[in-house]
Point group: C2
Chain length 206, copies 2
Amino acid sequence: MPDDWSDPPPRQPLLVVISGPSGVGKDTVLQRMKERRMPFHFVVTATTRPPRPGEVNGRDYFFISNDEFAEMIEHHELLEWARVYNDYKGIPKQQVRDALASGKDVIMRLDVQGAATVRALSPDAVLIFLAPGSEEELVHRLRERKTETPEGLKLRIATARRELDRMKEFDYCVVNRDMSLEATVDQIIAIIEAEHSRVNPRRVTL
Amino acid sequence: MPDDWSDPPPRQPLLVVISGPSGVGKDTVLQRMKERRMPFHFVVTATTRPPRPGEVNGRDYFFISNDEFAEMIEHHELLEWARVYNDYKGIPKQQVRDALASGKDVIMRLDVQGAATVRALSPDAVLIFLAPGSEEELVHRLRERKTETPEGLKLRIATARRELDRMKEFDYCVVNRDMSLEATVDQIIAIIEAEHSRVNPRRVTL
């Protein structure tokens, strides 16, 4: 029997991916988590699109040039990246490594395809799928984004349906009902707390 | 893709075992969970020992005769049982089955050996190990039970050390520090919440 039996196991930092279909409310949930001032590191995404009014470099995104982005891809410095319309978005690996090394849990928001990429790279990541309370709620939220043409909306809905079918690739599912944002955030925090209570903790590698 | 994609998966009731070494505070933690009035079913143990002043049959224990206990063993009606000094204690299976059938999570307090028995019978049970903040805390708590002779205390400590070494057979470890009862209960409730968020839920069989 070891001499140090009474010491609790050291707390291993987690890599937590919050994902789910388009329109489910990922950004709102992340925003609320930030407001709660939990001791997490929230990943800042790098993007080639220009900043919108009010957006701050390093807080909302890292705004970088196409050349810089291409170089990061070439040097495998992105954990995950995607083309969104005519722009590129990606997660700088070093940022995640640094945060994990400092002992902080790392939280990132990714689309369903991005979550699958992270799972392949880092099998011990905690994958949380946000699901809508119902199909109606999701369609309603997609419709409220007035930026869509009717055809654009149809495509969005079709994509969301296909994304919903990938829930089974995730570890946890949290239903993000309309008007229950606090409950959604509480449930995510409970999942993170429970993961830290595992006798066999996950060990994130990148 | 299924038509009912938007329905959250039905909530599967859990069988939760709270265990840990003698002196770690299992009874106090269970008592606090009951006071919080969570919608759990707390298992009532059957015992052959006579009731102590203030104990109520069916609330604190089911007080039954040696003959009745022997019959329950014979008919495999006990999930787990043990001899404690000259008395017998056991968990009636039917009580657990009825509570699970009603959709309630079932919480039971067991010693480490009992938890191992439940794991073997029901691999999908959630096993939570309560650990002391330190060896000193545990010894102090065992010492405070004034009922012990010095030899009895030594045996208790040796047993507790052996029990601590079995933590690795459990799913979760919660450190029950002195003066942090609420945090312990919060962590257990977070574990139960997280288990209910699993994409692949446990399915308890008995």
